[in-house]
Symmetry: C2
Subunit: 256 residues, 2 copies
DNA sequence: AGAAGGACCAGTGGTCCGTA
DNA sequence: AGAAGGACCAGTGGTCCGTA
């Protein structure tokens, strides 16, 4: 069972108690959320409205009523709601120390999302409903309900292309991780650096990044990130222009 | 060239003048809208706000400014904006008489949408943008801009399953049309009757209506209609229940 | 400064219902 | 009554930016 091993890669310290939240009825699929899941220490963060103008005021519908007069629901003392620890660049197999999470853990989150998607698909099939082929809002909602509160859309979308490199060329991905760790680069720099080898892969395969994603069983469930798509397009145009300037500009460039 | 033949199946009388509207730039695909397209006689229908409460008031953004002080833009006399003629049940090859449209014309609209989709896809590929695989809102918008004002989403969605039967079992579809024409049934009755043979086809192919749509090159670009999906699901449950009551209820029913 | 994620927003899929 | 389609609406994909 790799689940506990990998979960252990997430540096805890936010909460000590494994929490098994309500599962959506009918979940018959493979075991995402089947292992232990942890929840960050929770306390009502007050009704403090965020700064942004809220035109649509997303209403009260799902608030669990028990407003101000509420104890500390998980009994662990009045700590504030916290975020996941930030990622640091780790080598393959390396566990992050301190209040950090490593990249194996990051990639594990993508596998978990895949398992949640499979569960959502199974439920949809049983019910004869539309069956998602990608990790959609519905899947993120399901993951949250299943207790995986550490999974969220902005985070997963942010690192998709890093996961893509890991899927498509694990050796190159590992080498990049080692190089960036050695140089002491931060996660943002590593993340940026993941684009280049992906564009090179696309170049070798006719520039069709969608086809590349779709051909890979674990990657096909993720939307191609906009920036990756744009980089591939820009590079293809560059390559085509260079090719024309070399050949003197023949016909039949840019085959579709 | 079948385009003009089929276009002729649409009973005109709304407008005499072929109108070639602005094409979206870069449209390099096959020839939807390449033949003649007609526009219904147009006249500003005034700003009369519709009855429904309009929370979002879709604003002025694209109105072509020239408000009240406007001539009759297509010079054909002040007639009112009209709708397409209603469909009637026709046999294969039969042209509808009077202010009616026949079913060959209906199915031709689906082929036109497919051609518009191909154009949208070609543009997207050229630009390195996301490429739709289905007839989306974007495609309907494109069709309208290309002058095919007679194509709209509610209509196309309404008859998708009729087109599906035409694609999947043309003989059955033709037989149904002849039978319903002979009985003098209206379009609504024919449309309802198209569900049953489709469910029978699904039954023969393991109940996976999505797979059936996706396996057909001209049908795969259309979303499976909700009602058809529900009917297939309900019938599968019925069939499974019957099978259990016959077999006495074994294991391994409802294979997914 | 670097990073996590709540919340927003433009445009979608789906179809109702006022219209002809 | 039967039918065509403008317009609506809940929930989506995408990501900004106030937060820690």
């Amino acid at each position: 069972d790799t689940t506990n091993t990998l979960d252990a890669l997430s540096q805890e310290g936010l909460s000590e108690e494994p929490v098994q939240q309500e599962k959506e009825a009918g979940g018959s699929g493979s075991g995402a959320g089947g292992g232990q899941t942890w929840e960050t220490v929770g306390k009502k963060q007050g009704r403090k409205k965020k700064g942004r103008a809220s035109k649509i005021l997303t209403s009260i519908e799902d608030e669990d009523e028990s407003e101000g007069a509420e104890e500390d629901e998980n009994g662990s003392g009045g700590s504030e709601r916290q975020r996941e620890h930030p990622f640091i660049v780790t080598e393959p197999g390396e566990v992050a120390r301190g209040k950090k999470n490593g990249l194996d853990y990051l990639f594990h989150l993508y596998e978990q999302c895949r398992e949640f998607l499979i569960q959502v698909q199974n439920i949809a099939k049983e019910r004869g409903e539309k069956c998602p082929t990608k990790v959609t809002n519905q899947v993120f909602r399901y993951a949250k309900k299943a207790g995986a509160s550490y999974i969220n859309k902005p985070k997963m979308r942010h690192y998709v292309h890093c996961y893509a490199l890991h899927c498509l060329d694990e050796d190159a991905s590992n080498a990049l991780r080692r190089a960036f760790k050695e140089r002491g680069e931060n996660v943002g720099a590593w993340r940026q650096a993941c684009y280049k080898p992906l564009v090179a892969i696309a170049a070798r395969q006719g520039w069709d990044i969608d086809a590349i994603f779709n051909a890979h069983p674990r990657l096909s469930i993720w939307y191609v990130p906009t920036k990756l798509r744009q980089l591939c397009h820009a590079e293809r145009s560059n390559a085509a222009a260079a090719s024309i300037s070399v050949t003197g500009g023949g016909a039949a460039q840019l085959p579709f």
